[in-house]
């Protein structure tokens, strides 16, 4: 069964003069790990907002087409109702932490939706354990690093038990090490069965884990498929998307007449392919 479905969805913000999303058609199945990328202003954030109803309920504007989340039309569902299906993690972690400690933060969402106190306590302890937040338990958000804050924000989102985790550039404010930690955590969650949609620019860090890569430009989806198939297209360079080093090398070799057996995504893969080619 499809978890999220965009049917010819278009959106224009009230104050904007052009469409932020143009005729989007997109199906997301349970268990997928989708990475979305594209140049600045191409509509990635708007796409994320459309999945949990922030567009059009929080950000008003003109809507065309439909988005169905777990068979519910987002036009007729409240954000709070959609929150238990699609959990959003945003770019700036400090704006997502609104309470004074980790326990309260994780409990905030379920409390708002009137979940039983005992059940909330269970979820809090479970997430503190799974996301390794024990050392942060008593810290004020201001005393945490960006990476720690983002981990807490992720736990707070997961506390609503969403079926799909939508993360909008969760690592762009972080140092490379913390970014890697967050990406590892997302990959882990996906392996445990969580459907993931991740907006990310550093494709070298995520292409290998992702099951699908979506390229956006000027409000439209311009490529959608397995990461290898998308990254090998020249379109990527044309719209200014940075592709992994290994894939770049593959393409340069190909231009000079050397075709490797497969499109590599990581250095390790590239090395193996080169070895293979030499032996052959």
């Amino acid at each position: 069964m499809t978890l999220v479905e965009f049917v010819d969805f278009s959106f224009k913000y009230l104050e904007a003069d052009s469409l932020a999303l143009k005729h989007i058609n997109l199906k997301i199945d349970p268990g997928e790990y989708i990475v979305v990328t594209g140049p600045s202003g191409c509509g990635k954030t708007t796409l994320c907002r459309a999945i949990n109803g922030l567009v059009p309920h929080f950000h008003r504007g003109y809507v065309g087409g439909h988005v169905y989340v777990d068979s519910k039309d987002t036009r007729n569902s409240e954000v709070a109702e959609l929150a238990t299906i699609a959990g959003l993690v945003f770019q700036d972690p400090s704006n997502q932490l609104v309470t004074l400690n980790v326990e309260k933060e994780i409990a905030f969402g379920p409390e708002n939706l009137a979940v039983e106190p005992k059940e909330i306590r269970f979820r809090v302890e479970d997430l503190i354990c799974r996301l390794k937040l024990e050392p942060l338990r008593d810290k004020h958000p201001h005393e945490m690093s960006g990476g720690e804050q983002q981990r807490v924000a992720m736990a707070a989102t997961l506390a609503l038990r969403p079926k799909i985790l939508v993360a909008d550039e969760p690592t762009s404010n972080l140092d490379p090490q913390s970014a890697q930690l967050i990406l590892d955590l997302i990959a882990d969650l996906n392996r445990q069965g969580m459907t993931v949609l991740l907006v990310e620019h550093r494709l070298d860090l995520v292409s290998n884990e992702a099951s699908r890569l979506i390229l956006m430009d000027k409000g439209s989806i311009v490529a959608d498929g397995a990461p290898r198939d998308v990254l090998v297209q020249d379109l990527c360079q044309e719209i200014g998307v940075g592709i992994p080093k290994a894939t770049q090398v593959y393409k340069q070799l190909k231009r000079r007449g050397v075709t490797l057996g497969r499109v590599p995504l990581t250095g390790k893969e590239l090395a193996a392919l080169v070895k293979e080619a030499r032996q052959a």
Binding site: A83, F90, T99, L100, N112, P117, T157
Partner: protein, 256 residues
């Protein structure tokens, strides 16, 4: 400003910390009332001395002493001025009494603020039927004050780097120089507020009329004891003040 530390929560594991904020609130009010009822050195000193063991029980003696040290200059200043300007017959004695009263008042409220986490305070307010939105706004203010302060500093640095001189010139000029700090700060804060609202919205803020709370405060044996003692003290102090003449030794004052 180090004396403000006695109004700042410190995480400790003590009998006082474990008490319910509501019973501590009543206790602080009773203690404050006790020191407000009298203006003689002896009764004030008794009220004040009763508070010291409680500070000790809250494991906060060091912090309290440090704050008092920070406060001492101000206290001496108050005492000198009061003595010089007061029209009463024994001005020095009167000033000493006033100073003790001030210290006792601060101490009684510090017992509350030292040992109540802001989260507990807002939970207590909610359970005293203050609206959740109001209590939450208060705790959010505490959450974002350091963040905004940091933002203000970085804007100040950025503007200084661009040649804005913040601490030069006459007062009017200085005020004008604040504008390049205030305007970006307001813009940044509005943008931040929107983004916070968006994140809260997507976590169901305000969705249910009857929201639940993971932890509710509840009264234990100690709280009932503290409540009863506070009420007895309150009643006793008011009664004595209104209907009983204090014995001679309690009215003792310094000769000056």
């Amino acid at each position: 400003m180090s004396f403000l530390e006695i109004f700042q929560y410190t995480r400790k594991d003590s009998i006082i910390h474990r008490l319910d904020p509501r019973s501590k609130m009543l206790f602080s009010v009773a203690a404050a009332a006790a020191s407000l009822m009298f203006l003689n050195i002896i009764p004030l000193l008794i009220a004040f001395l009763c508070l010291i063991p409680i500070i000790a029980a809250a494991k906060s003696m060091k912090r309290w002493l440090r704050s008092m040290k920070g406060l001492s200059v101000l206290l001496v200043f108050i005492m000198v001025f009061n003595t010089l300007l007061s029209p009463v017959p024994n001005p020095f004695s009167h000033s000493v009494a006033l100073t003790i009263r001030l210290v006792a008042l601060m101490t009684s409220f510090s017992i509350f603020f030292l040992t109540v986490h802001p989260d507990q305070l807002s939970q207590a307010l909610i359970q005293m039927h203050i609206k959740f939105e109001f209590a939450f706004a208060m705790s959010m203010a505490m959450r974002y004050v350091p963040t905004l302060a940091q933002e203000a500093y970085s804007i100040m640095d950025a503007q200084k780097a661009r040649g804005v001189e913040l601490d030069k010139g006459n007062p009017i000029r200085r005020i004008r120089n604040i504008i390049p700090i205030i305007v970006p700060l307001i813009i940044v804060s509005i943008r931040r507020a929107l983004s916070i609202a968006e994140s809260m919205e997507s976590r169901g803020f305000g969705a249910c009329e009857k929201r639940t709370y993971m932890d509710r405060l509840s009264f234990h044996k100690g709280d009932w004891v503290v409540m009863s003692v506070s009420i007895v003290v309150l009643v006793l102090v008011v009664y004595v003040r209104l209907f009983v003449a204090l014995p001679e030794w309690m009215l003792w004052s310094l000769p000056l």
